[in-house]
Amino acid sequence: MAKKLGGNGAARLGFLHQLEGHTDRVWGVAWNPASRSGGAPSMLASCSGDKTVRIWEQQSTVSSSSPSWTCQAVLDESHSRTVRACDWSPNGKLLATGSFDATTSIWEHVGGEFDCIATLEVKIHGHENEVKSVAWNTSGTLLATCSRDKTVWIWELQPGNDFECVSVLNGHTQDVKMVLWHPSRDVLVSASYDNTIKVWAEDRDGDDWRCVQTLAEPGWGHTSTVWQLSFNMSGDQMVSCSDDLQLMVWDSTVDPSEWTGNGGGPWKHLCTISGHHERTIFSVHWSRTNGLIATGSADDCIRIFAEDPTNVASSVSFCKVLEKQKAHEGDVNSVRWHPKDPRLLASAGDDGVIKIWEFEQDL
C-alpha cells in the first residue's frame, strides 16, 4: 500500500552511503525492480563517462543498521564511449545500456554473473550518433532508444534474446534526451532539446507508430530543453523537468489510442512548478511508493516536492518539501526512488559518485 509522505512536518534527507568506483561523471542510476522482492537484496546499476556500467548490491540483512554496499560487477567490455543511460527490464533480469558510441547493449543477469548476451546492432543499422536514453515497457516486450540523431527507435524482444526493429519515429527537430513508457499502456513519451514532449502510440491497424500529441503549445510547454519525464504510480499524471528551471505536471489519464482527435490532444497541462531551481533541472523522478517528486539539478541540489495538502482549488498544486544543497560536488545528473522502500533515494553526479539517501518526515 503506497504510503503518501509529504505532510506538514519537518523533512530531512539523510545521507546513508556513498558508492565510489567510477572514474568519470555518473550519468544515471537504475534500481533493479526486483530489489527487496522475495528477500532479494537491493541492486543498483550505474552508468558513467568512464565507459563502464557498475552493478552495486546491498547485503541483505534484518539488522536495523544500514547494511553495506559492494560493487558486484563492472561491465566494461561493451562500449567504446560514455555509457549515458541504463534501464532494467521489469523482471530485473535484463539491463539495457545506451552509449555515446551509438550502440545499445543488452546484458543478462544470470546467477551472479553478468554476460553481455546481445548487442543490438544499432551501431550499423540504427542510431547514427550518441544514444541518450533507453527504456523498457511495462511488459518487458519492447525497448525504446533515442539519440542525438533526433529519432526514437522501438525494438521488440524476440525469443532467443534477439531484437527486431518495430519502428523508427521521426518528429523531433533536435536531440532527443529521454524516452519513457507509460506504466500501464504501450504509450511512449519522449523529451527533446527542441523544447517539446511527444506522445507516441501504435496505430490500431498494423505496427505503425505515430506521434499522437506534442506537448508544446505556447503558454503550456517548456521554453527550453526538456531533460526528463516521470509518471506517477497510476500513470494518470506525468511530470517533466527542463532547462527552463520549471517542472510541469500533465494529466495523462486519457488513453491516446482512444482519443478521437478533437481539441488539442488527449493529455493536458495541469500545473507548473517554478521558482525553486536556480539552474537546469537535469533529472526528475516520481516515486511509485510515496507519491513524492525528486529533482536533481545543475546547482548541485536535490529537491523534493509533494502535492500540496492545503490546496483547496480544483486543480493540483505542488509544494517544495525539502532542498538538499551540495548533494553532490557538481551537477546532479540522476535521482531515482527505490521501487519498494519509500524512504530510499539514489542520486548520481558529475563528481563520479552515487549517493544513497533516506527521506524522513515528521508528521
Binding site: I124, H125, D149, C165, V166, S167, V168, N170, D175, Y193
Partner: protein, 148 residues
C-alpha cells in the same frame, strides 16, 4: 506682381524639376537594368540548383525503388526470407514510394514525405539486418560537437 513672377518661377521650377527628375530617372533606369539582370541570373542559378536538387531527389527515390524491386523478387522466390513485420513494412514502403509526387515540384509535402520515406527505409534496413548506402546517401546527423 504675381503674374510675371509666377511665370518666371514656373520656368525656374522646370529647370529644377529636370535636375530632380534626372536623378530619379537615372535611379529608376539603374534599378530596372539591375532587376532584369537579376532575374536572368536568378533563373540561371535556379535552373542549376533545380537540376541538382531534382537529380538528388530522383537518385534517392530511384535507389529506394530499386531496393523494393529486389526485395519483392527475393520474396517471390522465397516468401519466408523476411519476417512478417518486415514484409508488411516493405509493402507499406512500396505504397508510399508509388504515391510520391515526383513530378510535382511545387507540392508542399515533398520534404515531409521524403523524411518519412527515409525513416521507414532505415527501419526496414534494421529489420533485414542490412546496410545499404550510396555516395549521396543523406544523413540525419550533422557534423558537430557532442551534447549531453
Amino acid at each position: 506682381m504675381p503674374g510675371p513672377q509666377k511665370r518666371s518661377s514656373l520656368r525656374q521650377d522646370d529647370i529644377f524639376d529636370a535636375v530632380v527628375d534626372l536623378e530619379t530617372s537615372l535611379f529608376q533606369q539603374g534599378f530596372d537594368d539591375g532587376f532584369i539582370s537579376g532575374v536572368r541570373l536568378g533563373k540561371d542559378e535556379g535552373r542549376e540548383v533545380g537540376l541538382k536538387s531534382g537529380f538528388e531527389l530522383g537518385e534517392e527515390i530511384g535507389f529506394y525503388r530499386g531496393c523494393v524491386t529486389i526485395w519483392k523478387i527475393a520474396l517471390e522466390r522465397d516468401s519466408t526470407l523476411f519476417s512478417a513485420r518486415a514484409q508488411r513494412s516493405i509493402d507499406h514502403f512500396d505504397e508510399q514510394l508509388r504515391a510520391y509526387p515526383l513530378t510535382s515540384p511545387e507540392d508542399e509535402r515533398l520534404q515531409d514525405l521524403l523524411a518519412s520515406l527515409r525513416v521507414r527505409f532505415k527501419a526496414i534496413m534494421a529489420m533485414l539486418s542490412i546496410r545499404l548506402d550510396y555516395s549521396g546517401y543523406p544523413k540525419a546527423s550533422s557534423a558537430g560537437e557532442i551534447s549531453f
